[in-house]
């Protein structure tokens, strides 16, 4: 018997890629998709890389597929927006060897800026979408996605969600299959998408979708379980598990392929079963199509388009029962916060003191928006901090942004921020951009990027110098500074925002959670000197609390000895000491 292991959904997807004989994978980190690439990088047989953004990643994977080897790209849902330019046209060109794009949606918004549904994009791009419901299916369906991709000559979207990616269940390991690399043949009408070719390929796309729709009822990963025929569910992905948990005796039509839908199979099911509910998180993608065929089903009139579903929720809506025994007690919220010793805190403490607004970006430093730092005013998407600030200046003039800066992390800057900075240089900006360089992609769990000097596989590589990069595109004033140099930062930011020259301030200090660091110092409070003024508490460090008498207490096991609190104590009550 083959080996059984308990695996994270993302681990299982990586295993599926290995077993499917994938040779090239390119991705950009994004919760909840990140670990797929990290697990995959452990297989020596697979070339795995971090690209600077998802568009680049998908194009790399597409190049590999066109050249004739099985390839893939992984990203989170909003990453697919960045990659949608190649995505829509790759649907036209088709592939050569299999190409699968893993996209991780985040219903419930555990770690994202929106709750968009990738199944909608699959429909509009005319791409098949495959979705598993547990780890073992993740591995098996991933291999099947490559079969579909090659059979129909199309990229396939493999959709996962937070609950699938970050849950563990039992996986039966299989052998690696070694697919033959395909021969590449030049074909201008297939791969050069100028109008004459694209017009021809659009016909191919439509014909392919019609053919797939006909075949879909026979796809082995679309299945029907007839039980009690009074009530039935059409569902897919993790919601299938909620349905089975809540209604183990009901009939279920489980979809493994969401686009296109198996029309005949669904029509037969709806005929056989008295009351049919469509259970899908987020948008009514399945429901709207099924209704358009004139079938009578229940869906979003009963269930929300927001958040994650659960078995209890299904029971509550359908049966009107509530399983909860105890009342929920009101408890003070515990939102995520910047870690002790985080260099972002130092930068935000200075901006807060100077009463400066920040156009923010995507990363841990988004937490600079919340109390007590309250610095960031806007967060939209990767790279947007710089362009938003530029828009403000062009709309309202130089004076208007004298109390504004853009704050962006090193990885995010390289993702798409640099494009926005080029725009600032070109269109005569006088803004201040702060790159919070903590030498890693922090929030997703410390991934390497083009400025860290290491690849995903852990090999040494050229590290792009952010300051030189900014200078080379024409930024007239580039300043590098230690992120914990509070006095220096204050002076630099003041001069910069009041000046008329486009300035990039690179605040440098490694993320406190980066491995291999030593923390030789710890901060201690002399309670005799503490005047209980609370100034040090304004930096919002989780290692700091108050004693019952109102004096400040520092938890020495949590403190990383950055000394920021000591900087804000006017009475010298806090000192940074050797551990």
């Amino acid at each position: 018997m083959s080996e059984k292991r308990i695996m994270l959904g993302n681990d299982a997807i990586a295993r599926g890629a290995y077993e499917a004989g994938v040779k090239v994978s390119s991705s950009y980190p994004g919760t909840p998709s990140t670990e797929i690439s990290e697990f995959l990088a452990k297989y020596d047989e697979v070339y795995t890389e971090w690209a600077p953004n998802e568009k680049v990643a998908l194009e790399v994977a597409a190049g590999a597929a066109i050249s004739g080897v099985r390839s893939m790209a992984c990203m989170k849902h909003v990453g697919l927006n960045v990659a949608s330019d190649p995505l829509y046209t790759l649907a036209y060109t088709g592939i050569n060897a299999g190409l699968v794009i893993v996209v991780a949606d985040d219903p419930g918004i555990a770690s994202s800026q929106n709750e968009q549904d990738t199944r909608m994009i699959a429909r509009s791009a005319h791409l098949p979408l495959v979705e598993p419901s547990d780890s073992n299916e993740a591995k098996e369906y991933f291999k099947y996605a490559f079969e579909l991709s090659e059979k129909y000559d199309t990229p396939v979207i493999f959709r996962t969600t937070t609950k699938l990616s970050h849950s563990q269940s039992i996986v039966e390991l299989g052998e690696k299959i070694a697919p033959q690399d395909k021969t590449y043949e030049r074909s201008m009408t297939k791969y050069v998408m100028m109008p004459a070719s694209a017009i021809g390929r659009h016909k191919v796309v439509e014909a392919r979708e019609i053919q797939m729709e006909k075949d879909a009822s026979a796809f082995p990963i679309n299945t029907v379980e007839y039980n009690d025929k009074k009530i039935g569910f059409i569902t897919s992905g993790v919601p299938y598990q909620y349905v089975k948990e809540a209604f183990p005796n009901a009939s279920v039509l489980k979809l493994g392929v969401i686009n296109p839908l198996p029309k005949t199979m669904i029509e037969d099911f709806v005929k056989e079963v008295e009351a049919v509910y469509i259970i899908e998180e987020l948008e009514p993608v399945i429901e709207e199509q099924v209704r358009s065929w004139g079938l009578n089903v229940k869906g979003k009139e009963c269930f929300t388009k927001q958040g994650e579903y659960s078995a209890n929720m299904l029971k509550k809506v359908i049966n009107g029962t509530d399983e909860c025994v105890f009342e929920k007690a009101a408890s003070p919220a515990r939102p995520p916060i910047l870690c002790p010793g985080c260099p972002h805190r130092s930068v935000f403490s200075v901006l807060n003191k100077l009463k400066i607004h920040a156009s923010g970006d995507i990363g841990c430093y988004t937490l600079g928006a919340v109390a007590p730092l309250n610095v960031i005013d806007t967060t939209i998407c990767m790279g947007s901090s710089i362009s938003l600030l530029h828009g403000m200046e062009k709309a309202r003039g130089k004076e208007y942004i004298k109390n504004w800066v853009a704050t962006i992390g090193d990885s995010t800057f390289l993702h798409t921020g640099v494009n926005s900075l080029i725009n600032m240089v070109y269109n005569k900006s006088s803004a201040t951009v702060m790159i919070l360089d903590n030498r890693t992609t922090g929030m997703t769990g410390h991934q390497e990027h083009a400025a860290t000097g290491k690849t995903l596989k852990g090999e040494d590589t050229y590290a792009i110098d952010l300051a030189e990069l900014c200078r080379s595109i024409g930024v007239p004033n580039v300043i590098e500074i230690d992120a914990f140099d509070v006095q220096g930062l204050e002076k630099t930011v003041k001069e910069s925002v009041n000046g008329d020259t486009l300035t990039v301030i690179i605040a440098k200090a490694p993320c406190a959670l980066l491995k291999g660091q030593k923390f030789p110092y710890v901060c201690k409070v002399d309670s005799e000197k503490c005047k209980k003024c609370g100034m040090c508490m304004k930096i919002g460090c989780p290692a700091m609390t108050k004693n019952e008498d109102g004096t400040v207490k520092i938890d020495e096991t949590m403190c990383n000895g950055c000394g920021l609190c000591a900087n804000y104590c006017k009475f010298g009550a806090i000192s940074k000491q050797e551990r």
Binding site: P32, Q168, S169, S310, C324, A329, P335
Partner: protein, 187 residues
């Protein structure tokens, strides 16, 4: 069996639930775990679920379904107590970590949490942090708490220790084993 492990990001709740999951797997059960990654981990309230049985569908535990709730902090025990089923039990690491909302004075840390919880549920407490510190490594807190929880979940001590030893870093096997034993024997 439905088990829920809650705490504050960085306390080691994830490792604890993985050890529980692996132990159940070794004993031949179907197992599912649900974890929290990403932004929520940064010092926030974190929740992981472990479910095992003949066949497990849903990867999370529902409100009103939890057999054993393991909390690494008092306030988090209160926050998730309503997940317990009627005769479910609670393992609480008796410590207080103020959330930022309390630190900045936007809310108050509730008093008498354990007393209130004990009126409704069977609550077993342990001062895991102090025990870990006495062993010389505050990071083994999760092994202490796991030790106490293990006794209430079932499986033999050897079954637990086998997984624990295979999971923790090589250099810390001895101290983690000791921490587990102290939790297991204590009460």
């Amino acid at each position: 069996m439905n088990i829920m492990v809650v705490g504050v990001g960085g306390q080691g709740t994830l490792l604890t639930s993985r050890i529980i999951g692996k132990t159940a797997l070794n004993a031949g059960w179907d197992v599912k775990l649900s974890e929290v990654h990403g932004m929520a981990q940064r010092g926030g309230s974190v929740v992981t679920f472990v479910r095992f049985g003949k066949k497990v569908y849903e990867p999370v535990c529902e409100e009103g379904s939890v057999d054993v709730l393991i909390s690494f902090e008092r306030l988090e025990a209160q926050r998730y107590a309503h997940f317990l089923k009627k005769d479910g039990i609670m393992i609480v690491n008796d410590t207080r970590i103020d959330p930022m909302t309390v630190v900045i004075g936007a809310s108050e840390y509730p008093s008498g949490i354990l007393e209130a919880l004990s009126q409704k549920h069977s609550v077993y407490t342990i001062k895991g942090g102090e025990i870990a510190k006495s062993l010389g490594n505050s990071k083994v807190l999760n092994s202490v708490v796991l030790g106490l929880a293990a006794k209430h979940i079932g499986f033999s001590k050897d079954e637990w220790l086998e997984v624990l030893k295979a999971t923790v870093p090589q250099k810390t096997i001895e101290i983690n084993t000791k921490a587990f034993e102290m939790g297991y024997e204590g009460e």
